[in-house]
């Protein structure tokens, strides 16, 4: 973990309430896809944990949804402004067990962390296929970005207004070696039941600190108590209690 002052270089809406923010500065603490950053915002006491969507040598990209005071405040920020950010938080996804044909399943704002993961898997010579789930056509984002990487992408919408009608679990390919997923808990539970290989789940929880100090985000697993912010947010299928 590192405390960095990052400068906003981009903050653009992708849909009505989902924004992409690019932050430049020292992001050397980001070491794995699926990690998150924790952002201090003016006038708010707790930081806002947001998963990392992309990271290169000197910048990090996050995609966030305006759901409350903090994220709404973020939508009004402009390039040039700086943010105090704790970077490199959480364990992140482990690509070692992925096999040759990993499956990436993202739902809503659970989609972003899969982007850096897809990049890493591709760099390792693997061939990830991607299923992205949204409620409706207007909420779809990142489809083209995954296609640009060279991934095979299927989009599902609950109302059928775009792509396959239904949930990500309605569009599972027949053949995959492993899976990685991030999304709302009902989706994670459905993925848990619908998949026939091992895989990794990224969880969300209200956090106090984001770095393991307060025990605010603990959960029970088969292998004991885990802090979503420290031993998570990524847990393996075999250790999850659903």
């Amino acid at each position: 973990m590192k405390e960095s002052f990052l400068t906003i270089t981009e903050n653009t809406p992708l849909t009505k309430d989902v924004y992409r923010m690019k932050l430049s500065g020292d992001v050397s603490a980001v070491t794995a896809p699926g990690q998150f950053v924790n952002i201090k915002l003016e006038g708010l006491f707790l930081r806002r944990p947001i998963s990392v969507c992309d990271c290169d040598g000197d910048s990090v990209t996050i995609i966030y949804k305006a759901v409350g005071k903090g994220t709404e405040q973020m939508t009004r920020m402009n390039p040039g402004e700086t943010l105090n950010v704790l970077t490199g938080l959480g364990n992140g996804y482990d690509t070692a067990p992925s096999g040759d044909r990993p499956l990436l399943l993202g739902g809503g704002v659970g989609v972003p962390p899969l982007y850096l993961l897809a990049k890493k898997l591709l760099a390792e010579g693997k061939r990830p296929s991607v299923v992205l789930g949204f409620n409706t056509k207007n909420e779809v984002f990142c489809e083209q970005e995954f296609k640009n990487l060279g991934c095979e992408v299927t989009v599902t919408t609950v109302d059928g207004s775009y792509g396959v009608k239904g949930f990500v679990t309605d569009a599972l390919p027949e053949d995959y070696t492993y899976f990685y997923t991030c999304g709302p808990e009902p989706m994670l539970k459905a993925v848990y039941r619908a998949t026939n290989t091992s895989g990794q789940f990224s969880f969300e929880e209200r956090m106090g600190c984001g770095f393991g100090a307060c025990m605010g985000c603990s959960c029970k697993t088969i292998t004991g108590f885990k802090r979503i912010c420290k031993e998570g947010p990524v847990l393996r299928k075999e250790e999850i209690l659903f």
């Binding site: 708010l44 006491f45 707790l46 930081r47 209200r206 106090g208 600190c209 100090a213 025990m215 603990s218």
Partner: protein
Amino acid sequence: MRNAECGMRNCIEQRTVVSLCGIQLDNPVIPASGTFGYGYEFAELYDINCLGTFSFKGTTREPRFGNPTPRIAECASGMINAVGLQNPGVNAVIAEELPKLKQCFHKPVMANVSGFSVEEYAATCAKLDKEPQVGWLEVNVSCPNVHGGGMSFGTDPKAAAEVVKAVKAVTTKPVLIKLTPNVTDIVAIAKACEEAGADGISLINTLLGMRIDLKTKRPVIANKMGGFSGPAVFPVALRMVYQVYEAVKIPIVGMGGVACAEDVIEMMLAGATAVEIGAANLTDPFVCRDIVEQLPAVMDKYHIDNLNDIIGGAH
């Protein structure tokens, strides 16, 4: 570089040295229990030996998972938590946490203890009494987030005094009793603890609070209520430290919303011998190191030669 400076410069700053129940602290800065784990998360960030000491995660006789999540809510200038004393239990703390801590912290640590019965408090303290790393026992009779224990001891002078007596009977280490602000008369409880033999008083624990989510129209926290802390509670904490200082002779460890060196000095002026910093660690993991570093300059600014000169100075 900053770590080294902290070790070289501030830790030998004689004018910040205070004595808490006979044990010397290089400075009065103490991360509060529940915001600093067992120390090593922070030891990865900076050399925690620059601190006076720290109070480790509230420990009970048996391991506890604590409350269901969500356990955290935000509020103006603060937060609410209902962790519910998650800890691995005293045996695991002694077998695993303390040896790990020894690698990165070389000062006496404050052991924070909670319980659900007088016997449990005594049993846990008796075990920690044998640990040379432990300097003080900070006995928490004030956790608002557990049922049938914690705060129920701290809201009744007789019950609080019973815990003090039972713990004092099993230890030779100084016993600080950590009090809850959720009472009508904090002074009566503090006096009862002093009479029962407490060596010092820590106050305040969190204030009972809650938030309701407008979208779900339900409490944000699974436990419904939780402990309110952060800068918003500082004036309440300061007032209670001030009141208790007038009523007892034993030292006070002041806490509640402390977030900077100025707050530390204000707490000491109210009557605190040492000062704990809680919620601020969660939003700024470096805050305690920074307070230690800034303390001498802030003392200069307010013409304070030695911190011992200002304890209770506002009375």
